[in-house]
Symmetry: C2
Amino acid sequence: MASYHVVPLERLIEQFEKMPGIGHKSAQRLAYYVLNMKDGELKALTSTLEEAHEKIHYCSVCCNLTDQELCPVCQSTTRDRSVICVVEDPRDVFALERINEFNGLYHVLHGTISPLSGVGPDDLCIKELLNRLSDTNIREIIMATNPTIEGEATAMYLSRLIKPLGIRVTRLAYGIPVGGDLEYADEVTLTRAMEGRREL
Amino acid sequence: MASYHVVPLERLIEQFEKMPGIGHKSAQRLAYYVLNMKDGELKALTSTLEEAHEKIHYCSVCCNLTDQELCPVCQSTTRDRSVICVVEDPRDVFALERINEFNGLYHVLHGTISPLSGVGPDDLCIKELLNRLSDTNIREIIMATNPTIEGEATAMYLSRLIKPLGIRVTRLAYGIPVGGDLEYADEVTLTRAMEGRREL
């Protein structure tokens, strides 16, 4: 029986399959979505892709994504310039900005040290972070890398580089997530929650 | 606190959010994937989108997707031209081709009759199907629309139009799915499986 090949459609599905979190079925669905787009809609999609790809780059200070020389946080005149919160990923900045709690600056590493994946310190924006530390106003670096093995290792690595400079290095608190259930918390999290207990 | 706005990035995330099955988090992930693409990769993505959108259209006979005048199945000289399998969606053709069991032709409706969503018979490729029936060689139409309310209604509607022409109209068998569990089968499926039982 003839197998059904429509080359441009297969290529389109392949392109979607390369994207993170998109399997074959989702890729098919997205391909049909594209085929059903009106000409103007497709034009808007491709030009948005091209525009974002062309204009967005790293902020020259904190390495977050921006379409200007400096990102909005680094540009801001109302932020506390003595604290830098170090995160793995630009999405983490969005997450922290949403809580409206932190008013300092950020630094985006764009990954974590991970020898197994061949990612060393030189592949991350660590040099850029160290350059910022010559500013004598900086009193604290908050390590907000993820609580994973790689995130911990990266935080430890950076803290060993930064502490000798006389700057305070802190780590986000570990504990049971709000709204979570003690029964389902893993042992490491429970141990950390116990260790980090505070006076009521 | 400054809220973080990078307009081209937000536009890109919005474009992905419009796609089926893509929520905000996935859209962010896809946007970062695009930003990290090499120039050549992005070019390949946008040109694949444009090429597929431009070249792919409905087969002039069966309304399946193709980049030629006729789709590969309608072009084939080895297929049984006396049977037409009617499906809702081009993906259903792929699914049926994979089982290597059916050697007839297809007809793609591109949807189902759904008054609630404002989709009437004229919005589907029903006229094209009826046009094909003037071919006196056709002996059977297999209704392979989905076993949903809309799929059933569409199959019933078509069967009422086609049966008077003296052509046999069949429907895919209902029953318990292979590898499924009786305990979890719904009542309607179990009833249909019982009604459709066959001699061992």
